[in-house]
């Protein structure tokens, strides 16, 4: 049960993120929803990387007979965070331009493509 808490948090965060994306009209809030969803995925990756009793894979520090844990998911999460920063920056830039051009960042006002 205790080890499942991160996974429960992942589900809760993902649901909050999806609900925010679906039900909010303000672009900034939608972006926040995406960031929350992204945190859920990152937390999921990190939670996968935990092995009970394992130690960091630094060869010289390894006591004999201990399990070493490969740090792939930590590397994945770092990459994913960096990509997340880039996507958030691009989305906020779009919101800025739309604010200048349309005078609003409410999604029900941003629909000039459909006449």
């Amino acid at each position: 049960m205790f080890l499942n808490i991160p996974y429960i948090a992942v589900v809760v965060l993902a649901l909050i993120g999806l609900a925010t994306i679906l039900f909010k009209r303000n672009l900034i809030k939608i972006f926040l929803g995406i960031v929350i969803l992204e945190s859920a995925v990152n937390l999921f990756l990190i939670a996968l990387g935990y092995r009970e009793g394992g130690i960091a894979p630094i060869y010289t520090n390894a006591p004999a007979g201990e399990e070493m844990v490969f740090s792939t998911v930590q590397a994945l999460t770092l990459t994913s965070i960096v990509i997340g920063v880039a996507t958030t920056a691009v989305m906020l830039t779009f919101a800025m331009v739309l604010w200048k051009k349309y005078g609003s960042i409410e999604t029900n006002k941003i629909r000039r493509l459909k006449e």
Binding site: I21, L27, I30, I34, L37, E38, V41, F44, L45, L48, F70, T72, V73, L76, T79, S80, I83, A86, T87, V90, M91, F94, A95, V97, L98, K100, K101, Y102, I110, R111, R112, L113
Partner: protein, 524 residues
């Protein structure tokens, strides 16, 4: 000597060259526009050359693997790793090589085209930087043998394309289209990342071959499959999630729209790679095959019916792009539905898959050509509205010829390439299920009807007074369109040669999961 080095290192060069040229593009742009244009054209030409060399090597000598950071390029399994490929591996089999050929040819044609089509705009250094990054991402997506790597390249493509769609702000309309595309892409990419996490948790691996060799098809794998399929089907513009396609395709500059077609097909490649290489016969192939077929048929029908009433020529073409994607899904879906049943596979399964895969390369060529002609018309008259056009056939003869070639190819009229691949799809799908083949033919007829209308309203009729001074498109644009037009014709005249040299190896590489695994993990 130097040739050997290039061939041996080509998978790494494929990514390194466009990245390097993209990085230096803004600095070179400070010198002068001329120097920057040459820099970009040289960068793209080198990338295409490396891609073609690698594709030739793969077709001649079989699947290539490239291991980053290993003692030797093909040293996939470190001795003390216990048989786990820990490094990032590029696995280039004939299917990947085919996608590289598509990206190389269209990329080069489009860069020639955009050197003149974009010359009147500012901020071109960032335009070309993003363009080269997009090429990097597409080539990476189709070459990589590692799922997380696939996700990273997918995000590179998304970010670069979103920037390029929004490039002509156009009173905010283009930004609106880009925002829609980008929000959907980001959510899709997160779904893919979640699925990758599931695979890693189950199989302790990220390498496609490694996961494929351990695949159990548990409930978790089914969830992961649904997440990946939904995200990639959205990215390739298949029907239930197609609504971003017309907006993004119509608001992007025409050269970028042609490139977006290739990017969508890289996502389509992702679907095929996941279905055939990652899961293969562990799937319930009949069910999943039928899901792919239904997606394909819906895309075909809804795409073409939405296209007919459109007034904006690029929006119309975008709906046709959705419809054509349906053909690829249909062909490959039929192949998937009978996968594992060797007699059926031999009688029509392989032909259907070859038709679907042949349609990918054909579609990239003629749809790219059509978007480029629409861009050429826009370049001269400044509107995409079909009701305001007319009589341009008098002044833009070459553009008209290229448009006819593209339109006949998309409608599946011989002797153009669209006919060759559609014929393969019709005859094989007819054996599988006649109704599907009939739907495909009806869609083809509607496509022809729609393009006759477009042709008539753009080029036919008397010369309009407001377009009195309109001239032919500039030479570099014509060369860019010409490259694609020549390929459309050549592929249409010699379909047998193309199918037997390029398409058959690709289709067999896709179905033969064992060979893919063996190429990375050694003999199985």
């Amino acid at each position: 000597m130097i040739w050997d080095v290039i061939v041996a290192q080509s998978p790494a060069l494929l990514i390194a060259i466009p990245l390097l040229f993209a990085f230096f593009c803004p600095f070179i742009g400070k010198i002068s526009n001329m120097v920057r244009n040459i820099w970009v054209a040289v960068g793209m030409a080198l990338t295409s050359a490396v891609a073609l060399i690698l594709a030739w090597d793969v077709y001649a000598f079989g699947t290539r693997i490239y291991v980053f950071g290993a003692q030797a390029a093909n040293y996939a399994l470190p001795l003390d790793s216990g048989g786990i490929p820990v490094r990032i591996i590029f696995t280039v089999d004939p299917m990947s090589a085919l996608m590289q050929i598509i990206a190389a040819i269209t990329g080069l044609a489009i860069i020639l085209y955009s050197i003149s089509s974009e010359q009147r705009h500012s901020g071109l250094s960032s335009f070309y930087t993003l363009y080269l990054l997009m090429i990097t991402g597409i080539l990476g997506m189709v070459s990589t043998g590692d799922l997380f790597n696939f996700f990273v390249f997918l995000e590179i493509v998304s970010i670069a394309s979103a920037g390029l769609i929004a490039y002509r702000v156009d009173k905010g309309l283009a930004v609106e289209a880009a925002l829609k595309y980008f929000v959907l892409s980001t959510i899709g990419a997160l779904a893919i990342l979640f699925a990758i996490g599931i695979y890693y948790g189950e199989y302790n691996a990220l390498n496609i071959a490694m996961i494929a060799s351990r695949m159990q098809f548990t409930v978790l794998d089914q969830i992961a499959l649904v997440l990946i399929m939904a995200a990639l089907a959205m990215k390739c513009g298949s029907v239930p999630m197609h609504f971003w396609t017309p907006d993004a395709y119509s608001m992007a500059p025409s050269s970028i729209t042609a490139m977006l077609v290739v990017a969508s097909q890289a996502s389509l490649y992702g679907i095929f790679r996941v279905l055939f290489t990652l899961y293969n016969v562990t799937l319930n192939t009949a069910t999943v095959g039928w899901i792919v077929i239904v997606l394909g048929v819906l895309s075909m029908v809804i795409g073409v019916t939405m296209a007919i009433p459109q007034k904006n020529v690029k929006r119309l073409m975008a709906y046709h792009a959705i419809s054509q994607t349906g053909y690829m899904l249909l062909g490959v879906g039929v192949g998937l539905a009978v996968l594992g049943n060797q007699p059926l596979m031999d009688s029509f399964g392989y032909t259907a898959m070859e038709g679907g895969i042949f349609h990918i390369i054909n579609h990239a060529m003629y749809k790219g050509l059509l978007f480029l002609t629409a861009g050429a018309v826009f370049f001269r008259i400044g509107t995409y509205n079909l009701n305001k056009m007319g009589g341009l056939g008098h002044s833009m003869k070459w553009t008209m010829v290229f448009f006819i070639i593209g339109a006949l190819a998309i409608a599946g009229i011989p002797p153009f390439n669209g006919f060759a691949s559609k014929w393969m799809i019709y005859e094989s799908v007819y054996v599988f299920n006649p109704i599907l083949a009939i739907i495909a033919m009806v869609v083809s007829i509607l496509t022809l009807a729609s393009f006759v209308k477009v042709f008539h309203s753009i080029f036919m009729g008397p010369k309009l007074p407001e377009y009195e001074g309109v001239k032919e498109a500039p030479l570099p644009m014509l060369i860019g369109m010409g490259i694609l037009a020549v390929i459309v014709i050549l592929f249409g005249i010699f379909p047998e040669t193309v199918v037997s040299t390029l398409i058959v190896p690709a289709a067999h590489a896709l179905t033969n999961q064992g060979a893919y695994i063996a190429a990375v993990l050694g003999g199985v």
